[in-house]
Symmetry: C2
Subunit: 493 residues, 2 copies
């Protein structure tokens, strides 16, 4: 099974991204967001962050921080347009930006659906199985958070044991949640130990991500700001992602929601550069719409895809890597889950996203993770990679001689032009079932979810630890044991 | 329910289409296809067609017809870049080309799945219910063939009774199969009667389509060629569509399959213009790949989407309206059906298709039609229409004042900027279920297929005949009765 997957590669864009608005309109959104930053400003609920921003030229009035356009643009200019994110194994290194794409696992779901079909609150068993499955799927490049939150681990030590699990069960790059200074410091140290490098090398080689969400509208909370400071000062990766639901926490018009998304994103990005010029940061867009009948959020909608493409246009305006997501509102792995995810993915990919988060396994608007969906999404991600392979046009592929050889009413199966290519020319999907009706009936008429369930079981069972170096493993365990013995972190935040 | 659908509009492109190859590479494919037409040629299995082509400058050798590039380009130049296709009700008129999109129903499935879940051979009851459902769905603009083939109607009179059903149950434009001269002539006359116009008006106003498939590789069969002659001489719409499965009836390389698709398409298109310069014709692309393990065709694949986009580039090279399709290989309305259709649709739409065939209801690689899929696809088509609505960027939509009014930690629900727009800003889908887990569980955990089944039943039950003028109805019935009494058409072809 595992050998049947396409190899673990990072797909690259070979064609220019799509646009949903003109360059002039992007400029109008940009200018409007600068106006918001100057006139309305952002609440920055962290004294040190306010002081740093003030020292860099921002105007501070209580919690409110206002930014002049020149100051914003000056700091955006130091964000690298691309960088390498390091895994604990060198072959897991990823390029962020420069036309490359990274797919990261579903993250932060509070619940999951077991392989027996029960929906339950996240636990460590589930968390570990998602790590195993994500490690086994070549299409999943990294973990940008816990696939599911293991609430059976006490919050004081959860960040320690989850990182232990991540570095022992997987060698793909990992993420820490910015939930207070001590968690950030522990996470940074564990990432350094897991990579087996000294502090200087760790700071020279970004090896850890943290997602920073604005509390839309127009506010950053203390732990998020602390996370920016702790991560950026060590030259680690900050992914700024306002979560702007048009009609709820943002204006109902997509243009307005994008103005707000952009204002919030720029404020967070500026702070990364105030903390450490040149530190790696990613522009995240997560603008979707709500169901105006119920107020429920909706994902994988036409509005979502349009905002995803516009978000890419904005990120490129600043030459910063762009993060989007693969999302679905569906409660069950049905046709809706399939088409919403395909819509979100096409929005991300035609929009030129460099990092697709929640790329495999996200269901129910993020409220549960699904093993079956993770496998199905891996098929979708492999489809994206195949789609992005250049369509080669040369004398051999144009096949004028083969067409002449076969001629009217002939067949190409037997021709040498076909025979020399037939094993590699097309993607062989894992889940998609192309059997005819009769064969499929004989096999018990399994739908995509049923097939994905069987594959998920196989892949999890086939998982082997990637083999962290013994000394590193011991040092990492020792660190966790010591910090657990110390009581972990305070949980009164 | 019906009132909950978005209005019946034709979506339009506001942004340039995507490309998967460069303009130079499109030119290389074009040149290679001209080489195929000149060197290898096409088998044209119809004496009159060969004579007409010879008179226009083609070289005929037995059945084989070879075309010089100059002759091809001269005739392509007379194809209109856009035209109006007329329905029996004026508000059903459709623009083909000029940046507009038409969505047509699933067509030509030999089987269908009943609303009770049984897969069976097509019959008139099923055919009529698909017409009713397609008539009720605003997203379905026309019928490009029988949604399902009613094999319980004798082949000698099937074309007559099916057209009767189509013109009485729907006022959306219809299609005839080119299966011999007499069927074409009957179909043309019924279309004219149904429109209530004289022969001159009928010829001035294209009102009927016929799909013409090449018998790939490089052959057109007698009834298809007869169809081109009968339809084009009356200025009706010919949609030339080679069905080129890479690795089977076409080269395994997409470039090669596109060369063959293009050569076959150009040959058919040239004949339409030889028959009547300026007659309306559409460039159809239907290049997909086969599963190289089994030889089974596959649809909604990455290769399919790539070929769909390249096909649009080719059609625009000649300034001819472009037809693509919404396809899926799946046997059941599951996640695979959802993502394959979304992939095919995105390929069509980012590729700039002007006519999306099989846009609603196509399953199992075309081997069965599905009511549930038709309703789900209508949701997808409405998503496409919403996605293509311009993202308006102006002072009002940028919402800088609203953002300032609401401020940090506020909420936009109550703001006037939201209140004045909340009923119309976002698409309200028919099938997509955005309820939270608890509400959805209380409702019985219906998946998309279950919800679509209920909607299909409602819509079919709510169908009312659109009300053909009494005199037209009588004339149409009289025509059918007379032709049935005459024995219909010979069935010995």
């Amino acid at each position: 099974m595992v050998g049947d997957q396409p190899a673990a590669i990072q797909p690259r864009y070979t064609q220019p991204p799509a646009r949903v608005v003109s360059d002039d309109e992007i400029e109008a959104i940009h200018v409007a967001s600068l106006e918001v930053l100057k006139r309305t400003g952002i609440d920055i609920l962290h004294a040190d962050a306010r002081e740093r921003l003030a020292a860099a030229g921002a105007r501070v009035d209580g919690d409110r921080v206002r930014f002049d356009p020149e100051m914003v643009m000056e700091h955006l200019a130091t964000i690298p347009s691309s960088f390498t994110l390091h895994g604990t194994a060198p072959h897991r290194d990823l390029v962020i930006g420069d036309g490359h794409i990274v797919f990261s696992s579903v993250a932060s779901a509070p619940n999951y659906v077991t392989l027996d079909g029960a929906r339950r609150a996240g636990d460590r068993d589930g968390y570990r199985d998602f790590l195993r499955l994500g490690q086994m799927l070549n299409a999943v490049h990294m973990f940008n958070g816990f696939p599911v939150e293991p609430v059976d681990l006490h919050p004081s030590i959860r960040h320690l044991e989850t990182a232990w699990d991540a570095y022992t069960l997987s060698d793909k790059p990992f993420h820490i949640y910015s939930l207070g200074r001590d968690r950030n410091l522990d996470g940074l140290e564990m990432a350094r130990i897991a990579r087996g490098v000294d502090h200087d090398t760790f700071e020279a080689e970004p090896s850890l991500c943290s997602i920073i969400n604005a509390s839309s509208p127009l506010r950053y909370d203390d732990p998020m700001l602390e996370g920016i400071i702790r991560m950026s000062e060590r030259n680690q990766v900050i992914i700024i992602t306002p979560f702007t639901l048009a009609g709820a926490m943002a204006p109902i018009t997509l243009a307005g929601a994008l103005v707000q998304q952009n204002a919030e994103a720029l404020a967070g990005l500026v702070l990364t550069q105030v903390v450490r010029p040149g530190s790696p940061a990613v522009y995240g867009g997560f603008t979707s719409n709500v169901d105006m009948r119920s107020g429920s959020p909706a994902f994988g909608t036409p509005e979502y895809a349009k905002a995803a493409i516009a978000g890419g246009q904005l990120a490129r305006r600043y030459d910063i890597p762009y993060r989007s997501s693969n999302v679905s509102t569906s409660n069950v792995v049905d046709a809706q889950a399939g088409y919403e995810s395909a819509w979100a993915l096409w929005g991300a990919i035609t929009g030129g996203a460099n990092m697709v988060m929640h790329a495999a396994g996200w269901m129910e608007g993020g409220l549960h993770a699904s093993y079956e969906k993770m496998v199905i999404d891996a098929d979708l991600l492999n489809m994206v990679s195949k789609f992005l392979e250049p369509l080669v046009v040369d004398e051999s592929t144009l096949a004028v001689d083969a067409i002449d050889r076969v001629g009217p009413a002939g067949h190409f199966f037997g021709d040498e032009h076909t025979q020399s290519r037939y094993t590699s020319e097309f993607l062989s999907p894992m889940v998609s079932d192309w059997r005819n009706w009769e064969s499929w009936q004989l096999a018990g008429s399994p739908d995509a979810r049923t097939r994905a369930n069987a594959l998920a079981r196989e892949l999890i069972a086939a998982h082997a630890e990637p083999g962290l170096d013994d000394a590193i493993r011991a040092e990492l365990r020792e660190f966790v044991d010591r910090r657990v013995a110390e009581g972990g972190v305070a949980t009164d935040f």
